[in-house]
């Protein structure tokens, strides 16, 4: 998929406008509705939307209805109902909340519209009502980060964790995957404390400053994403202790990529919003084509360190 390189730098609002007003009723074409979590608050979601719209346009025979819930569960449920009313052929949902959206998904399912959940899973109770899930395996990502941490520290050390937004599925799964794998692979590495950084760099920087005060010895920091990881790195640099600490993150951001290149940051997980968007669209198309689609479709999110840095493009966010 070379659409990656042809990212238009059009204004977000404009692309939404164009997308949501393109309603052509061509023969054999699918209408797919997507309701997203909160486009605009972070670069990942913004890039995802752009990639999704472009992939759909490139495919040619798809009309899309692009909606955004603005992080609001109630609004997302309303959007689901709107899409059912419009009788789209399939709905893709990026859940604002893994629990609260289930009744709306069930409604769509009852109306005979297949639902594909993207990026972030819904609770098990809802899995019967969806056609498929497509997204990253966050538990696996946490495990991979634990493996990197173990390698970097040689199996021995004291570390802290800065997790994502409390209650958000991605944050919970990454932390769980990390903690479980670390305990099993590396009993010599002690996780001293975990505090949430809320996916916010400034917040993570403050948490790390307090960690540095509290613990005289910190050998490693695992952050739920690179944005927070770079905040932790900032704090450690400021305290003159960055050289003693191994930094490992997830969802490689451009700042994290650069920090790896400079040798200040050990490693991360490469998760492309473009792959994420393409996987969601492809899964929906496979479902519509009547193919036998597995329930869980994970796209690949490899480890990235200084050793294999060149194999990856610098993230656009």
């Amino acid at each position: 998929m070379a659409i990656n390189n042809t990212l238009k730098m059009s204004v977000l609002a404009a692309s939404v406008f164009v997308a949501s007003t393109t309603v052509a009723y061509a023969e054999n074409s699918y209408r797919i509705g997507i309701t997203q979590n909160n486009v605009g608050v972070d670069s990942y979601q913004t890039t995802y939307e752009r990639a999704f719209v472009e992939a759909a346009e490139a495919a040619g025979n798809i009309d899309i209805v692009v909606l955004d819930a603005g992080g609001d569960v109630a609004r997302q449920i309303g959007q689901m109902q709107d899409l059912v009313q419009q009788q789209v052929d399939a709905i893709i949902i990026w859940p604002t909340n893994g629990q609260a959206v289930i009744p709306a998904i069930r409604q769509a399912n009852n109306a005979g519209i297949p639902v594909v959940v993207t990026n972030s899973k819904i609770a098990d109770a809802g899995m019967d009502f969806i056609a498929a899930f497509s997204g990253p395996d966050n538990v696996e990502q946490g495990s991979s980060s634990a493996e990197m941490m173990c390698d970097a520290l040689g199996g021995e050390g004291q570390i802290v964790q800065i997790s994502g937004q409390p209650g958000y599925t991605t944050a919970i799964e990454r932390a769980a995957g990390f903690e479980e794998r670390l305990a099993e692979l590396c009993p010599g590495v002690e996780l001293m404390e975990t505090q949430p950084g809320n996916w916010n760099r400034e917040r993570a920087q403050r948490v790390m400053e307090d960690f540095l005060t509290k613990y005289d010895r910190i050998d490693g920091v695992y952050s739920g994403d690179d944005n927070m990881g770079v905040g932790a790195l900032n704090a450690a640099k400021d305290a003159g202790r960055a050289g003693d600490i191994v930094f490992i993150g997830a969802t490689n951001f451009a700042v994290g990529y650069d920090a790896i290149a400079r040798g200040e940051y050990y490693g991360s997980i490469y998760q492309s919003p473009v792959d994420d968007a393409h996987a969601a669209l492809q899964t929906a198309l496979d479902v519509l084509a009547g193919e036998d689609v597995p329930k869980l479709n994970f796209f690949e999110t490899p480890k990235i360190t200084a050793e294999n840095l060149e194999e990856f493009d610098r993230p656009v966010f």
Partner: protein, 336 residues
């Protein structure tokens, strides 16, 4: 400061003249509370009172503190400013994004100009159009956040060359061993405190907030006074954005989200009345510091972040209650 207190409570003769420790305790309750909470935390964490930790906390608190200095002036003038969080996002995104495009100096100038413009819009709507400040600034909170998203297209902004820019001075620099954010906070606090206590301008703001009708009858141009408070508030936000942008060397679109509440919390904790006409900058400084030390102390003791919310706001309600109880001279309500 003395004049500020006089404007605030001209009739509380008993309280002012009451001598001795008790009088001091009730007059300076917030300071006593501050020292007490410091003491309690120091019992549980040995690093808490270390010099490096104190410097860390004061530095962390200085962003909220700088904004709170400005918002205190707005509140003394009898209005609210809830738009400061979004305004902080706006200013930070702007200065960070423009840094690499037009150079640090120009970026700072543009950022200050546009942030002051937003303040002027607030001031125009509240001061000159005389709309309700709660509604206006609540609306501006969303409007400005929207502007930020349109401007940035949802992308994070970063400064590419973090090591080689003098812009780092504001958030990471030190002068005579003191962190620049702390210096800026202190300097602004002293400046604005002097402005409020020793100048005619300050007295006019107190008058407008305390009794707008009387202020107008005594020839004060009330509308322009209110207008100017929003400029002060916006100026302080711009200073805070300087610190925040330089400290993080990047910015998310919603980086200032929630700051308006933290700022208000600090101000209320300090004892400035939300009704206007009373309060002082130095109380706000203490309030903001208490807030910072509570958050830091709880973290050092290993409590998760959300307990901070509970503890912080319980303490604020307690503080407000004790303050009222002190004024009423009884713990529960006076008869209605």
């Amino acid at each position: 400061m003395a004049s500020a207190e006089q404007t605030k409570q001209p009739v509380l003769k008993g309280r002012v003249s009451r001598a001795g420790i008790l009088g001091f305790l009730s007059a300076q309750g917030i300071l006593v509370f501050f020292l007490l909470s410091m003491f309690v935390f120091s019992l549980f964490s040995e690093q808490f009172l270390s010099q490096s930790n104190i410097m860390t906390v004061v530095r962390q608190a200085s962003i909220i503190g700088i904004i709170a200095v400005g918002v205190t002036v707005v509140i003394i003038g009898g209005n609210l400013d809830l738009s400061v969080g979004s305004m902080l996002s706006f200013a930070t995104v702007l200065v960070v994004d423009l840094h690499d495009k037009i150079g640090p100096m120009n970026a700072i100038l543009v950022m200050f100009a546009l942030t002051l413009l937003l303040g002027a819009v607030n001031g125009f709507l509240v001061g000159l159009m005389r709309l309700n400040s709660l509604i206006v600034t609540l609306a501006m909170l969303s409007v400005i956040q929207g502007l930020v998203l349109i401007y940035s297209g949802g992308q994070n902004v970063d400064i590419a060359n973090q090591g080689g820019t003098w812009f780092a001075f504001f958030g990471r620099g030190y002068v005579l061993g003191i962190a620049v954010p702390v210096l800026l906070f202190g300097l602004l606090a002293i400046l604005v405190q002097c402005l409020m206590s020793y100048t005619g301008y300050g007295r006019r703001i107190f008058a407008v907030g305390g009794n707008p009708m009387a202020a107008v009858y005594s020839g004060i141009r009330k509308n322009w006074c209110v207008f100017s408070t929003y400029l002060i508030s916006a100026f302080c936000v711009a200073c805070a954005a300087l610190v925040l942008g330089s400290r993080v060397m990047g910015s998310q679109n919603n980086v200032g989200q929630g700051y308006e509440l933290l700022v208000l919390a600090g101000i209320i904790l300090g004892g400035t009345s939300l009704l206007g006409g009373a309060g002082s900058i130095w109380k706000t400084v203490i309030g903001v510091l208490i807030l910072g030390f509570i958050q830091n102390g709880l973290l050092l003791m290993g409590y998760p972040y959300y307990t901070q919310w509970i503890v912080t706001w319980v303490i604020i309600i307690l503080a407000v209650w004790l303050d009222l109880a002190n004024k009423r001279k009884r713990l529960l309500t006076t008869h209605s």
